[in-house]
Assembly symmetry: C2
Homo-oligomer: 736 residues x 2
């Protein structure tokens, strides 16, 4: 090795190290650390650990920081409240003292540490002010010396006990890992050399940690792996539009070492930075005027509300509005969790159960390009990256309206220390100008009737930014008992570099795997699936699943001038396989979760139905490795008997999972589900063929499904809603 090569390597290593520091430092800006006094309850050692950049920053010195609720003194007040800062610290101490971790506690990496929710009967029984909280327990997923562990932590008794570990796969990456793995390629001289050969400065390079899927033991080699792909940040914050195409760096996640570099796209230019930045500040070089008068939007409904919001959040998590009451919390993996949703019966005033727990359980995002640098992109965002971990603070006035209230998340760094994700969830009342119900009489009846009622709803929202993509998840509660669950897609496409700058350069029938969005940029076709776990308890835990099938019925000769009509037939699903549904437009059905033991006055079983809207189904070969791992998307609807351990549709460990432990495998057991405590699963899907309007950042595309009362109430529960009168509305005068 000659001197100049050594020097070069040394230089690159130094640059790489500098980049690590830069990345690490800038990461400090974001999550809110527990401020200085936290030291008193953060029982671990003082200084930084390699894991927890967020727990060790210096006290705030910003001028007039906004007043934040303190989480240091949080205490649990509801059985489902997430672990508090104090509880996390206590769990951390217990884990670090647990053999064999006690031998080297700084080598312990906490991948998940969350409330082990008390048993469902205890939670359903619990009443505030009447019962004490059930004992607080946590469940932890950790890595230690190359092994995964799952542990039960009894916070009161101070005990830690091992739980079974899944047969395949690895835990969700920690944020610290994702952070440090961004820098891993820079430690490899060959990587730095190829970057240089492409004419890119190393400090203009940003790499993303991309989960590799699982494609057999030969590729896997029994190791925990990540594939790094890199982009040029030169000239734009939207580096996603500047891929260094064809370069994939395989890194061993446990050692941080580069295992392999695949470098195939040397001839592909890096797309230009021009017109890619989306930040308001970046567009300040614009002349500042709104040339065509529509880049500044305002609406009357952004106005002040002198009376303030009409909902309450009690004890930090219990939301009350209109007839609804539910528990709302942030979760590192699921994002936003709605529990214990009950609605008040307008006739009796009784509080009635609807849903024990609802959340996004897993996502599946396969890209549709089988080539070397793309085939593995088949993300499971919740289990691989943490859907909640990636939910950044919401932007007031833009992500949520003026009168929203915000809720923080308390999460756990890799070293087990708590940190606060500010403003992760918002809650607001929504009035979109819609009509709750109406009727006018036509003049032909001679009745002068004009009755109409405005629709106001309550929304709980989070927005997760899983690297480039942004997912907006809304839980919207209506006064008529309907719950709408909506997923919006925005953010930035994952794009592919290409030599082409115009479609006339592309050969007839050449496979592009996407759309040419701009010069040298292809937006690659992909799907999104979001699978929701909906533990329905309709007027009690034991429910049944009914398919109300609609089919053409032909009339008998002479029976009627009509030849045909649509007939509805009810089928109660007795076992899991009976309750697998692939939607078909011309074989329509309604899907009810009923309580077979509770009837309305005229004898219909009370129920809620899941109402699909626009959706998509996966077309991949069921035996394709990604589809086996994502087999929970094989149907739009599944029903399973309640099982506390079946929470994550892709399995507890989905990272490099083989698909051995998914909703599809559980359902294959075909357990009885009639008049049982059951869980409904619904998958919302999108096919996305990108178009130029998605460049450089995508206008939001949304879809939703509803949980809707069906013979749950005796009659329209908002019949007596009062009309809005002019006198009910505040009169304001602009001040100053």
């Amino acid at each position: 090795m000659d001197y100049s090569t050594s020097l070069l390597r040394l230089t690159f290593l130094a640059l790489g190290a500098a980049l690590v520091l830069i990345v690490a430092r800038s990461a400090f800006r974001l999550p809110l650390a527990i401020d200085a006094p936290a030291a008193s309850f953060l029982h671990g050692a003082g200084g930084c650990t390699r894991f927890s950049p967020w727990a060790c920053r210096s006290p705030r010195t910003e001028k007039s920081p906004p007043r934040r609720p303190s989480h240091e003194s949080d205490v649990p007040r509801h059985p489902l409240d997430p672990l508090t800062v104090t509880e996390i610290s206590r769990a951390r101490d217990l884990l670090r003292a647990h053999p064999p971790f006690a031998s080297a506690p700084s080598a312990l990496a906490v991948h998940a540490l969350a409330l082990d929710e008390p048993d469902k009967p205890a939670v359903r029984r619990w009443r505030k002010g009447v019962h004490a909280l059930p004992p607080r327990r946590a469940v932890a997923v950790v890595r230690f010396q190359g092994e995964s562990h799952v542990l039960a932590v009894d916070l009161a008794a101070g005990k830690v006990a091992p739980l079974p570990v899944p047969a395949s796969g690895y835990p969700t990456m920690t944020m610290d890992e994702q952070n440090s793995l961004c820098a891993a390629p820079f430690g490899d001289p060959a990587f730095n050399a190829t970057i240089r050969r492409r004419g890119v400065r190393l400090d203009d390079v940003a790499c993303l940690p991309i989960s590799p899927g699982w494609y057999g033991p030969a590729e896997d080699g029994g190791r925990r792996l990540i594939k790094s792909q890199c982009y040029s940040t030169e000239g734009t914050a939207n580096f996603y539009m500047r891929p260094i195409e064809g370069l994939t760096v395989l890194v061993d996640m446990d050692t941080g070492k580069v295992v392999h570099i695949s470098d195939r796209g040397a001839g592909i230019p890096i797309p230009a930075a021009k017109n890619t930045d989306y930040r308001g500040a970046a567009n300040d070089d614009d002349d500042g005027t709104d040339r065509f008068g529509y880049q500044t939007v305002r609406a009357p409904s952004m106005e002040p509300a002198p009376e303030g919001p009409g909902f309450q959040i009690e004890d930090g998590h219990t939301v009350r509005w209109a007839g609804w009451e539910f528990h709302l919390k942030a979760d590192a993996r699921a994002g936003l969790v709605v529990s214990g949703a009950t609605v008040q019966d307008p006739d009796t005033g009784a509080r009635r159960e609807v849903m024990y727990k609802g959340m996004a359980s897993e996502l599946f995002v396969p890209y549709m390009d089988p080539t070397e640098a793309w085939y593995f992109k088949t993300y499971m965002d919740a289990g691989e990256y943490g859907f909640g971990l990636q939910a950044m603070p919401l932007v007031p006035l833009n992500d949520c309206p003026r009168h929203a209230r915000y809720m923080d998340g308390v999460f756990v760094a890799a070293d087990g220390r708590p940190y606060v994700r500010e403003n992760m969830i918002c809650v607001f009342e929504r009035y979109a100008g819609d009509i709750a119900w109406r009727h006018s009489e036509s003049p032909i009846t001679g009745m002068d009737i004009r009755e109409s009622r405005p629709k106001v709803t309550l929304v709980a929202r989070m927005a997760a930014s899983v690297a480039n993509y942004d997912y907006i998840v809304d839980w919207e509660f209506q006064t008529d008992g309907l719950i709408r669950i909506k997923v919006g897609l925005s953010g930035i496409l994952m794009v592919k570099g290409t030599p082409y700058s115009h479609m006339n350069q592309v050969r007839q029938n050449e496979e592009m795997h996407g759309t040419l969005l701009s010069e040298n940029v292809i937006g690659v076709i992909h799907d999104h699936y979001v699978t929701f776990r909906l533990d329905m308890d309709v007027d009690g835990a034991d429910n049944s699943f009914v398919r109300v099938e609609m089919a053409r019925q032909d009339t008998a000769p002479g029976e009627s001038p009509r030849r045909s009509y649509l007939k509805a037939t009810r089928h109660i699903a007795s076992t899991e396989k009976d309750a697998r549904v692939r939607l078909k437009l011309y074989e329509p059905a309604e899907f009810h979760v009923i309580n077979p033991t509770k009837k309305t006055r005229v004898g219909n079983p009370v129920g809620y139905k899941v109402v699909p809207a626009g959706t998509a189904g996966s077309l991949l070969d069921p035996e394709d490795p990604p589809q086996k791992r994502g087999a929970f998307t094989n149907n739009q609807i599944w029903v399973t008997p309640y099982n506390k351990s079946e929470e994550w549709a892709g399995g507890l460990f989905v990272y490099q999972s083989k698909g051995e432990d998914t909703l599809a495998t559980w359902s294959e057991r075909d357990r009885p589900i009639e008049n049982k405590d059951l869980v409904l699963w619904y998958t919302l899907g999108f096919h996305h063929i990108p178009c130029q309007e998605d460049f450089p950042i995508m206008p939001t595309v949304s879809s939703s499904f509803d949980l809707k009362p069906v013979n749950f109430f005796e009659s329209n529960p908002i019949l007596k809603q009062r009309p809005t009168m002019e006198k009910d509305l505040p009169v304001c005068a602009a001040t100053a």
Copy 2:
């Protein structure tokens, strides 16, 4: 005939006549007549005619009537402006003077009188202030002495010329007919006797005119027929919930005479009035308090807007907001018509064509009960009843938000006189708390980015009450170029009387044709289809239709670790049959209308795509008479070459039509559609199995579809939208 029978008959006749008078008088309350000064331009005779209750009421004497825009002095200012009051009066004079009508002008019944829109090239060329208006013409559909006529009326030249008359079917009923036919059964002693036998007082009876469909010449007898079904109004304004079941009165519409009475349900009780009234005033006997705190709704966005709305309506019909400009008008048959929709290009400022004309063309609402009193209920609400005629004045603050602006309709009574339908359309800016686009950077990239933009849209709305049902139609324009067309269903179910008061009385497998909603009330299963005619002109009149089909592509052995991916293939439809689409979840596609001669900078054809959301397809036998008439619902998507005469998907005359002249028959001609001026048709469908929550009035159920730019803009057109800052929002103090 003995004396007592004669007396009884006489009494019934007198009662019937009284009822006619009551119905007619009360009908006077609703539509706004042209006020007293109108007499000066209403060129016809002074007093009431049998047709026009609305044109002859006495001058207003209400205290402080709201200030309404005067329509007497309206003049057309845009080629597509609807006929003005003056023009309608002129057309009426011309028609009444036209032989043979001149012989008996009072026998002339005007069923439709509307603008004959100028030829499309002339309208597309026209510029305000540059060109004079094209000559104003009208098209009239009239009945005279038992015959239908279609006539072209040249307003300037004062000429009337006959046009071809459809081979089958009859014109849309006039409101006057619908009004007078409500009373027709009361002229028949046998009807009155059966009502009496059922224990109902005659003045508690209200009858609805129900279009009979068409079930062969034997049933038809070459006559224009209506089927009247009746309800008890005793104790409720919601008489729809009190059917006098099984009683169907067949009336000859031209003579007003009862032809046949079918009376089969004598044993079926009339459901009770209790709990059926939905009017706020009817619930005043409630204790007035909001017992459970959710029957009074308010939201911050109902607040005042000191700055007022951000859109303009110029010359009464041209709406301008953000980048959008379009012409908006009320139409007696289609309801709400959007024309000449153009959007401004954010890069060039150029105004670009999107859609020449969009409207609801026809509805099809088949009920799913083949029995005697129900089989014929297969409504086509636009062509039979007039979707616009049935759109009543909107209720401020409840149907539309506080800051909405309203637009009136000017329609034509049966005697040809104009009348005003107040507040038929509203226009408002909508801010629902949604996000136009967003991206946050994860801490792993070290970039502290939080960019988000709120979504504000513009809605044009109408709500048609076709007897019991209410249809809310929204055209929503987004700043990113998307148009969402949404249909909401509310109002009151069409229900069936039944002896059952509890489901335990119903035999296993007994066909109910619906759901027991309350004692003695079945909500009958039905479908709704709304077919929209969308004359797309994407950057010019000549466009092509492209199906971008997504299908599984298997990889070759050894090609990739992936076995499969989703591949998109573009198919340009050459003729109409190529462009018929029945949606399938597992055979997905995108549906683009492109301009094949206009390309983006990188060479993609500019386009708009139609994006279905939740919908339903008709399951009826294609040879079933109603489905033949409603054959335009056989596909979700059709494309036809532009033809001015193909506006109404069920044909010009759908009343008792045989299905000879529908979109399906036009499409069968299989005309070329590639690079032609083409029209896109989309049908939005709903299956409705009623549930108890729909009683006594239905919470709104909605579905929608989108017209969305696809490579129409070079990039995201709202990239430069400014974020909302606190300082941008008004600060208000509540006054007094």
